[in-house]
């Protein structure tokens, strides 16, 4: 794959991720029904519920992993791609990319949480957990950011045309 193709693909994925981020956070990810009480939950709604119950450390973990990390990934990938081909802030861009790569997959907590809750929430009218379309959008955002980070290699920050010696 050429450097230009990688750049185009990464840009397309980041733009798709930004568009999908809106429904991922606005639409409910799941609906929990316990003894007749029906509660649709968005990603932020789930965090709010945990916080209101006094479980703020868990709420903080979910907030960071499910809301802050995907948002920061989209913003920082956009910044890295916007500066592509320029000599500005190359060490900083590389450092940001390194951090992105390390923390990016932690956003999967919410997807796994949905799977675990859907698995145990099969008690008919007593308790049920139903996945909602927001979960699909959320998973799509994560995949867009993960693939964009995989496709845009950090070496392209230093060698925009793919030539290892170009920025030496």
């Amino acid at each position: 794959m050429t450097a230009a193709t990688r750049l185009d693909l990464a840009r397309a994925l980041v733009i798709a991720g930004i568009i999908l981020y809106v429904p991922a956070n606005v639409l409910p990810v799941m609906t929990i029904t316990v003894t007749g009480d029906v509660e649709p939950l968005t990603v932020l709604g789930g965090v709010q519920e945990l916080y209101d119950s006094g479980l703020w450390p868990v709420a903080a973990v979910v907030f960071l992993a499910s809301i802050v990390v995907p948002f920061l990934k989209l913003v920082s990938l956009s910044w890295i791609l916007l500066l592509h081909g320029t000599p500005h802030l190359r060490p900083q861009r590389t450092a940001v990319y390194r951090i992105l790569h390390q923390i990016g997959t932690w956003s999967m907590i919410d997807v796994f949480l949905l799977a675990i809750l859907a698995a145990v929430g099969q008690l008919g009218v007593l308790a049920s957990v139903q996945a909602e379309p927001g979960g699909m959008f959320f998973a799509a955002v994560l995949l867009c950011t993960l693939f964009a980070a995989e496709i845009y290699k950090p070496s392209l920050i230093w060698n925009p045309d793919g030539d290892p010696q170009s920025a030496q």
Partner: protein
């Protein structure tokens, strides 16, 4: 410790991040060699990969993947009705609810990728231990590198903790034995990332050849 550089010849190392070349030199104990351009770690004294440790952890990981999938993780009780789950139960539940893409993602990241990652690492590490150029070694090393990013056992372990906290607000929830295996699997996965260096093993095999 995973080196970020691959050895191109006996005197020069190449940065995996920015692809610049840097002159190799012997390091004193505790010393590090970093890329002058992007400051990525190039080489660490005493940081060479240990194929024996990687092989042991990979085989242990494979066993733990089996155990983590065989036993229930937790059980949820509402008004005397109990439901327990294993990792695969969530995959089937999502599929049955019409969310097959999410089910596939969960299956891949929580079950398939960890198993494949441990298997490929075991294969590469075995080649390193035996000092034999096994067929498809380079492909296996490349696959191990890719699968490492998608092997999310530690993230699944944290999700289990969050799920228990959330379910505790709705009914009675109890841990089952599967959670212990998942926790051990997560630890094994994190430890393997520290000791396995496919490029160092490949370089070692190249020197042998």
């Amino acid at each position: 410790m995973t080196s970020s550089f691959e050895e191109s010849d006996s005197r020069w190392l190449e940065c995996r991040l920015c692809r610049s070349s840097i002159c190799d030199r012997p390091l004193q104990r505790g010393e590090e060699l970093r890329c002058a351009r992007c400051s990525e770690l190039v080489k660490k004294a005493g940081g060479a990969a240990s194929p024996q440790a990687a092989l042991a952890l990979a085989i242990t990981g494979l066993l733990l993947v089996g155990l983590a999938n065989a036993f229930p993780i937790l059980s949820f009780d509402v008004a005397g009705n109990t439901q327990s789950n294993r990792i695969i139960t969530g995959v089937f539940a999502l599929r049955d609810q019409g969310y097959a893409p999410i089910a596939l993602l969960v299956f891949f990241c929580a079950i398939a990728a960890p198993a494949l990652h441990f298997a490929t690492v075991a294969y590469v590490a075995l080649a390193g231990c035996l000092r034999v150029m096994l067929p498809g070694l380079r492909r296996a090393a490349h696959a191990a590198e890719i699968l490492e990013s998608w092997s999310l056992a530690p993230v699944f372990a944290i999700a289990c903790v969050v799920a228990v906290v959330k379910l505790d607000m709705l009914g009675t929830v109890n841990w089952d034995s599967g959670i212990a295996w998942i926790a051990l699997l997560a630890l094994c996965s994190l430890s393997l990332a520290q000791v396995f260096d496919s490029e160092a093993i490949e370089a070692m095999m190249g020197e042998e050849a």
